[in-house]
Symmetry: D2
Subunit: 337 residues, 4 copies
């Protein structure tokens, strides 16, 4: 960390700041410039309370140098993290496609969806039993009943299940049925829940919050990693911007940037990232070309009857066609599908 | 709701959409324009699943006309909601000031803070026992111990307590000690928690999410109101934008806009809204002038030793001075302090 | 356009609004709903002054139905616009790559850059002679001298030249040397300049403003198109968001969305869209996979000596390597390079 | 400036960076930390080309310490800048109110508007003769005819005129009629125009771009100040965010922040900052309470017939009522109106 002092800071103020830093067991490198004095902190300064320091007399601002996350960083763990979920390798050479409806709506719907996405080549099945909805008047999911249908669909198709967990109460129940626990964008900074899924030791698909920076996403992954749970997938799903033609703005930069900063696998959700099914196909191809390790795509047997997210869901036919076009793109960047 | 058909929509497609809407028990008004056909839905169309409709053949887009919230709207409830918390009237003529440290750090700290803000004229005491922190390595709050200190500080000063509840697990415990339950910005769309505080029937201070629209804030209030809990305070605390000189961008428009749209009391948090203590004073005055019903301000006996948010905390002296300057501003807009 | 009246609007107010619309020679379709009355305007209502209407008594809000642009819309012009610039076909089957330094810095620099990008397979040469810089203390470009060097580089390599024009004063001069006039992001809504490049009848590369919506970009294209100048390239170059790890957030959705909405060719600028050369390569591949008609990429012989944008410039070697990896991606989506 | 080296940077790379910095005539302070080496640059490093440095081998990132603007900074010029425009003191104890229509539409309209705002207590008259409009089909202003009407209105009322200049071509003409030249938000980074108004030595009202940071606004002011033109007013007019209930999000923090960072007077535009006339009144009061030196407010004799911005224009009656309510707020913060 670097402490920049105000131009008018007194010698006494500078000494007090140095003393405070040394009280943490760290050393300070003093640079007196022509306009300002700066103090370079030597040692692992993540232990310093920055909010305090900024309030000391004479301090202008603090500039962090070290990244605030450690376990999630590539510096700490240079090799890619690769793990298996029921035989599906995550983070490896193959691009992994998770597909299925936004919400489980009925036994028939999820069985049909699972069958169709399996046929089209998907590797895992998605479907929500507990749904976070902006409005209390919207369909909130089938709950445990939905989980049971998911399980049945998984057993019939052999596809592992990815499903969202919304709170600690339902975590034990959801864990019984899910192969991968999804943390939704709205819960990316639900810290008690992050701790709980960390402790669960189950694989976690962690979605980026709609206004969270990449650094914050990695800090949330760090919460899970501190429990020794290494099976974390980072998922870019679009951020909120001023543009309103699309539901969100898919941050394509995030895929290569996260791969640089972290060893964790990175997935992309073009369904939420665009909010329009017509854009899902080209943006899926872009995601693979940008180096994403996987995709999560909403597919519904009859989008015009979907209880949620119909506007961004593909029909099984369109999904099958998309899968075909993804193959050469994956090959073009040295991956398989 | 208005359904705009694509220019090339066929007569059959139009009839199918009309049929679908009528299946909900609603009526449709058909307008054939020179370029497009639009269908006006007559009746309370909040029951229609928009995501489905948008997927029907020939549909271009849906345009909502009715507001998606009802209980929170001023149309539904024209008079201001006013309620009392241990003798402090919220939403009335008096501007209510909640003050105290970001986090309870020790018995001494919170007792001193409470005493000082009471002397300066604050009406309620804030202080976090459970703290949502971006980093797992930051101070996470004292938990129940902190709640006990808060209670003691409250009893000694007579100030009611506002404190954050982060999850359903700790809600019963927090409810024993808190007079007002705070829902933090990161939990504004933690829907299970909203349901739970709704059921608790305790007053709730609901903070706007850092990238939530006013409509989404009102929808989250609606979650609480559906449980018959009318004691909800809306709180603007700054939104996330590209500007990085300040921690957040305080949306001053939100105060009068929320007062127009809703009957609920509206508070403003200039500490998080600016992130810099030097800006808290002028922005607090602005908040009162804009018509806010209250303020929530971070005050710490020694900000340079605060375990969190020191950069935006006022000293007790500065807070006392601020309170003095707020009085004439409140008077200028027909309020008292 | 649809006019939504307030719930309490009187019959007289409704009639006044209808009268006002009919004064424009348009017809009105009246729908009385259970809560509100809505008026559907029939005819080309782009001539109505919306700001006036919204101020009439009883009016709640106006909802546009028709797109505000016409000449730029695909509805108006269903086939892709394709045009040639000195033998390079823009908007056709081939993905066109424009490459070169941010700024022309010397005769040697631009000649070397042009030679190297030509060898690597670029189709056009970029380079700024007039540079918009945030700071008055930064290098502002070589002006006419730079244009002359560009011309020489173009003649030696056969690459057509794309260069920025910043104001009307220098437009005649820049037009003498440029094959394509670039309108920078900061000038996307410099309307006098848009009119002038429209009149010039030269091809225009129109960059999206850093906080402009797709609709606003298309409206700015419309300014140029109204002068009968059809040779307009739309260019996504990243938008400003809260994310600060990257210089901008490249809006990958924009590529397929603009292709849907408009017939104009769509290019992507991964250099400004990321601000980091390490990300330029994967994001370029993503752009091609998403359906972009072309790329504009910053390449500098020695980025560590560049007078501007060094951080996002590729070396000629890295550019050559990128071009090789783009070929299979282009093929994978049915294009050539 | 501080240069942070990568953890794996070699000694040779570090020495090359030091050499490069010393070539600028600056000195370097080296700090070897446990994880990284940082180099503190001593001297006025605004002359260093940062884009180059970031591209050198071994460099991780550059962190600026000095502010990039100088003439606009309060450090350079501690006292408030105060200047007079035809007897109206800008930046002094009195809060200055500029009022009038968005656009000059006719002689009658501007004469009536000027008379009414004068009676209500406004100090200056606004009105646009050249209008930047998103759509080429919208009213673009009366041009020179509008300027003449403005002049007449000014002479009849004694109010100085503030009007927008959109390009260098019309600058001489606009300068003949204007007392203050307005640079609109879309032109905040039209650098040739900034140079030109700097040279003109006329007072300038510089509006913040809709996605510009405070630092960028100050850099644009710096462009004007480098020409020795000290008469610059900074104007916050709302920024673009995800919130769409209001036209823009008025950044109230900007008022006190700009006053801290700079000596220049700071005005606020609540009309564009909200986009809704119902919000203009409370937000104007907030602006004065936050310490703004002035306001610029749209007033139209008949907003429902305005050719632009009717939705955010006050009637003369509402403006007169607003002015009355501003007086006690100004007094409450030690100002007059």
């Amino acid at each position: 960390m670097i402490v920049v002092m105000k131009p008018q800071a007194t010698e006494e103020q500078i000494q007090q700041v140095i003393q405070r830093i040394e009280d943490y067991g760290l050393r300070v490198h003093l640079s007196k410039g022509t306009e300002v004095t700066i103090l370079g902190v030597i040692g692992d300064d993540r232990i310093i309370n920055r909010d305090q320091l900024v309030h000391m007399e004479g301090v202008d601002k603090l500039i962090p140098v070290l990244k605030p996350y450690k376990l999630a960083s590539r510096e700490f763990h240079p090799e890619d993290t690769v793990f298996e979920v029921k035989g599906v390798k995550i983070g490896g050479e193959q691009v992994v496609v998770i597909a299925g409806p936004c919400a489980v709506e009925s036994r028939e719907q999820i069985l049909e969806a699972a069958q169709k996405v399996k046929e089209a080549g998907a590797h895992m099945l998605r479907g929500g039993a507990y749904k976070p909805r902006t409005s209390p008047y919207s369909f909130q999911g089938l709950g445990e009943e939905g989980l049971k249908y998911l399980k049945e669909a998984s057993e019939k198709t052999g596809l592992p299940v990815v499903t969202e967990v919304m709170d600690i109460q339902t975590l034990p129940l959801v864990s019984e049925y899910a192969d991968v626990l999804q943390i939704g964008a709205r819960n990316m900074q639900n810290f008690p829940l992050l701790h709980a899924v960390g402790e669960s030791q189950k694989p976690v698909l962690l979605k980026r919050g709609m206004s969270s920076t990449l650094e914050e996403l990695l800090m949330s992954a760090e919460y899970i990693l501190t429990h020794g749970n290494q099976q974390v997938i980072l998922c870019e799903r679009g951020i909120r911007t001023f543009e309103n033609y699309t539901r969100n703005t898919l941050d394509i930069n995030a895929a290569p940037a996260l791969k640089m900063l972290s060893h964790l696998p990175v997935f992309i959700d073009p369904s939420h990232g665009t909010g329009r099914w017509e854009l899902v196909e080209p943006v899926s191809r872009a995601a693979v070309a940008a180096g994403a390790d996987g995709l999560i795509i909403e597919v519904h047997p009859r989008p015009d009857q979907a209880l949620s997210d119909g506007a961004q869901s593909l029909t099984p036919e369109r999904f099958a066609s998309l899968m075909k076009t993804l193959v050469p793109v994956a090959l073009a960047v040295g991956r398989s599908l």
